[in-house]
Amino acid sequence: MSELNVGDQVPELKVTPDKYLPHRYAGASGDFNPIHIDPEFAQAVGLPSNILHGLYSMGLVARASAAVADGDPRALKRLSVQFRGMGAPEQEIAVTGTVKSVDGDRVTIDTVATQGENQIIRNAEAEVQL
């Protein structure tokens, strides 16, 4: 994207993590907390089932934010998120973002990640160097 203006929507990212995505994310990240990979354990501690890693969902927010700079790994300068609702495997995640400010070639994007009505990441703010 060559030109971004305040209020512009960034392209929406939609991803449906499959049943075993949390296992692959555990392997890739090193976070094997059983609440993410063991439905029985998760239910025993009061969760509906095993839940997505918050940092996986944050990774999708990072991907959607950097997409405005064609996925250049140098472009994303800062990303701050709050984890609230729990993400679940096998449900579509939608990451939507709005340009909040433009300062020269640096843009700030406000982002939300949702599964249906459930916000799993909110108040995400990304600074991207174009």
Partner: protein, 146 residues
């Protein structure tokens, strides 16, 4: 009951992580990234990197193991049974490439109570083998019922 704040300002020793191509590939794949700079040495070099470059969120891979001893420290005293990861921030500087040796040093920034919850805020700073800062991270954990 007041929350224990003795650990505020405490620093822990750094932990060093050696970045490798296959680990970068694995992490980029799980996030669905397709930029060849994460997979192919020649593509990465053509784009100006020393070697295959990590996606920004790979910061989790090299910094989380360094922050764990701080979070587990009894002096911090977090109750893991009711803890959730409440927030996360990364500020990126120098890219992390395969072959880099990245040392991450954690510190306890803040511990405070709000609305019956305990907030435990840690900072970690990661530098590469040349002493250049790669990332600064802020980790916020929230503990219910303190």
């Amino acid at each position: 009951m007041g929350i224990k704040t003795d650990a505020v300002g405490k620093e822990w020793p750094g932990t060093t992580y050696q970045v490798g191509r296959e680990k970068i590939k694995e992490y980029a794949t799980v996030l669905g990234l397709d930029n060849p700079v994460h997979f192919d040495v020649e593509a990465a070099k053509a784009a100006g990197f020393r070697d295959v470059v990590a996606p920004p969120m790979f910061a989790v891979v090299y910094s989380a193991p360094a922050v764990a001893p701080a979070m587990l420290d009894p002096e911090v005293g977090m109750n893991f049974a009711t803890m959730v990861h409440g927030g996360q921030e990364f500020e990126w500087s120098e890219p992390a490439c395969s072959g880099d040796e990245i040392t991450t040093t954690p510190k306890c920034l803040e511990i405070y109570e709000k609305d019956g919850k305990g907030f435990y805020v840690f900072e970690s700073v990661s530098v590469n083998q040349d002493g250049a800062q790669v990332v600064r991270a802020v980790w916020t954990n929230i503990v219910r019922g303190v």
